[in-house]
């Protein structure tokens, strides 16, 4: 199975030749930061409203992989699992991308305080599932 995002990650990039080792301790990528400006739950969906190849080229490999992968709307948990990046790292890098308006952070039911209208829609959806 080909994995385009993995290809992107392993491309050698002359501009970032300071990163010689492929193995980087996860929080080196985030400059040691573990907190984010955005509230990102494991189920929070991320998408890319408009893919910008120039921006993609300017990103660190991990951020670029996230940016590319999020073109298919995906949750934080799925981004972490499919790119084998720790949840905490995904959160920090996605938060940075959101700060650049590169990615869109979708609202969660929790953002609506799991309000009754949202819960009703969820219950309604479950009742309509084919079983």
């Amino acid at each position: 199975m080909t994995d385009p995002a993995k290809d992107v990650m392993t491309l050698s990039r002359p501009k970032t030749n300071t990163m010689k080792s492929k193995r980087v301790r996860p929080y080196t990528l985030t400059g040691g930061r573990t907190r984010t400006r955005h509230h990102l739950l494991v189920e929070t969906l991320i998408s890319v409203p408009e893919f910008d190849p120039v921006l993609a080229d300017s990103l660190m490999p991990e951020s670029r992989a996230l940016y590319t992968r999020a073109c298919q709307r995906m949750s934080i948990a799925e981004l972490s699992a499919t790119l084998t990046l720790p949840l905490g790292v995904v959160r920090v890098l996605i938060s940075d991308l959101a700060g650049q308006n590169a990615v869109f952070i979708h609202p969660t039911a929790y953002a609506y305080q799991n309000n009754p209208q949202v819960l009703e829609r969820i219950l309604d959806g479950l009742k309509q599932l084919p079983v």
């Binding site: 996860p26 948990a77 979708h106 969660t108 929790y110 969820i122 309509q128």
Partner: protein, 198 residues
């Protein structure tokens, strides 16, 4: 730019919600999640990286531990703009730090029980009764159609409060598993109506 026009063009702005599936080892969490999920299970090793670092790098035996616990993960598209995610909580205590992360923001939880190994789920019941604000229901999984105890006995054995819904299910059966999820949402709804201001 996150322009609203391009978002609506691709039919975006999707709300995601989450239900936590808890319970001890071998009580049927994986079975329940897989019976309703529309996606294949994920390799969730990366979620555990924080735990692995420093703690699990080299176990005392010297043998590199590459065995991690696959965590249950499922997704159900309820409407074109509404997704429900299912997250199983890890059974092993060394991954309990993940419980808070996985359950934060969830609309509710289900604790699965196998009456043949009821002790396996004590920790999960305890967590949701005392260490979490999430609404939760307890579901007794009928293995192979057997159901050895009646629900009152189970409630007593778990010392479960009267206001916690206790139901039966067959985790292998999709309709039954969907029913469990409906019970969680119904319970959350009833609590949200009670606590709703005004």
């Amino acid at each position: 730019m996150a322009s609203s026009s391009s978002l609506s063009d691709s039919g975006l702005l999707t709300i995601s919600a989450k239900i936590v599936v808890a319970g001890g080892f071998g009580v049927g969490k994986t079975t329940l999640v897989n019976s309703v999920s529309e996606v294949a299970p994920l390799n969730t090793d990366a979620w555990m990286t924080e735990a692995s670092e420093g703690v699990d790098d080299l176990p005392p035996g010297g043998k590199k531990s590459t065995t991690t616990v696959a965590m249950d993960f499922g997704r159900i598209t309820l409407h074109s703009d509404l997704l429900l995610y299912l997250f199983g909580t890890p059974g092993q205590s060394r991954f309990w730090f993940l419980w808070d992360d996985l359950s934060r923001g969830a609309l509710g939880a289900v604790v699965l029980i196998d009456t043949n190994r009821i002790d396996q789920s004590f920790a999960a019941v305890n967590y949701f009764e005392h260490d979490s604000v999430l609404p939760f229901v307890v579901a007794v999984n009928r293995f192979e159609g057997r159901f050895a105890h009646d629900l009152d006995e189970v409630r007593e054995a778990l010392a479960l409060a009267d206001d916690v819904p206790l139901i039966e299910c067959d985790a292998r059966d999709r309709a039954s598993s969907v029913g469990v999820l409906q019970s969680v949402v119904t319970h959350s709804l009833s609590l949200s109506r009670i606590s709703a201001p005004g």
